[in-house]
């Protein structure tokens, strides 16, 4: 019994051990983070405006926006009681953004992993670990992750 308790404790506490420099991303799935949006490609629309627009929706409470060369990634968290309508919210948000900014390609996701990766990218850019070219590459990886089904 003791061995099992040790094993479970080790699994549960594994998250506390390292990645000390990433303060926000460590708790990004548990609390509201409000990450600053990232504008990798300067032309066109303002990411700040998109974030404000997304956060104005009642069912959504935390949004990360990344604008890359070809795509704009919008990752957000849905309020707990509205999580039953997740697909509906995603569909209506995508339609709304596509309609409003018709020259941009939007990738919309309510997945925690996508949100977490967006926060991590923001932190790495703030810490100077990632330049814009690498950030664009990471954005593509996040989008690939979003599309993965298995």
């Amino acid at each position: 019994m003791r061995a099992v308790i040790y094993l479970l404790t080790a699994v549960l506490l594994a998250g506390c051990g390292f990645q000390k420099e990433r303060e926000d991303s460590r708790l990004a799935l548990l609390k509201t983070t409000n990450p600053e949006p990232i504008q990798i490609e300067r032309d066109g629309i303002s990411v700040e405006k998109i974030r404000e627009e997304v956060e104005a929706i009642n069912e959504i409470y935390d949004a990360a926006v990344i604008k890359g060369d070809h795509n704009v990634l919008v990752a957000y968290k849905v309020r707990h009681l509205n999580r039953f309508q997740m697909k509906k919210i995603e569909k209506s948000l995508k339609e709304r953004l596509d309609k409003e900014y018709d020259d941009e390609t939007f990738v919309v996701s309510s997945d925690y992993k996508i949100f977490l990766e967006a926060v991590r990218l923001r932190e790495d850019m703030d810490a100077g670990k990632t330049n814009e070219k690498e950030a664009d590459k990471r954005l593509h990886e996040i989008i690939r992750l979003k599309r993965e089904k298995t």
Partner: protein, 157 residues
């Protein structure tokens, strides 16, 4: 109590005596135990999901598969060490309904029939309980997939 009419007076008297001494089933207590232990197992499952999301390339959607595998594996270990039996006795459905109960059903049957040999004993009895669950899952998934494919071919979805 329709059987009562057929029973002899002695049998009816015995039934009364039996009812008097019968222990009452603690339904509320059992429900609370099942609720908390089942909830605890699900909390551990959620922690494992977050572990996979944080440290590996799994999204919320894909982290379900390794989480289920891990929980079943842990339940198998616990069954092998004899701990899950006690948990099952204490929590009842709370330990049987989550996916860990599935692992327990497979391994406990395998352990029980080990003395009858590997093929007819372990192999033949391992899936006696879990086999019907797997079969039902696979077959219903096949039927749903068939319906979805037909509907998609018609352009309905």
């Amino acid at each position: 109590m329709s059987n009562n009419e057929k029973k002899t007076p002695a049998q009816q008297q015995y039934d009364k005596l039996n009812q008097k001494h019968e222990l009452k089933r603690p339904v509320l207590k059992n429900c609370l135990r099942a609720f908390f232990v089942g909830g605890l197992i699900c909390t551990i499952g959620q922690a494992i999901t977050y572990f996979y999301i944080y440290f590996f390339d799994f999204t919320e959607q894909t982290a379900g598969n390794p989480t289920v595998a891990t929980v079943v594996f842990l339940a198998m270990l616990l069954t092998g060490f004899g701990i899950y039996d006690h948990l099952g006795q204490y929590a009842g459905a709370g330990s049987a309904v989550p996916v860990s109960g599935f692992g327990n059903a497979v391994v406990s049957a395998a352990i029980e029939h080990r003395t009858e040999g590997f093929v007819l004993g372990v192999g033949g009895n391992m899936f006696k309980l879990a086999g019907s669950v797997i079969l039902f899952g696979v077959f219903s998934a096949f039927v749903i997939a068939l319906f979805k494919t037909i509907l998609m071919q018609w352009g309905g979805l």
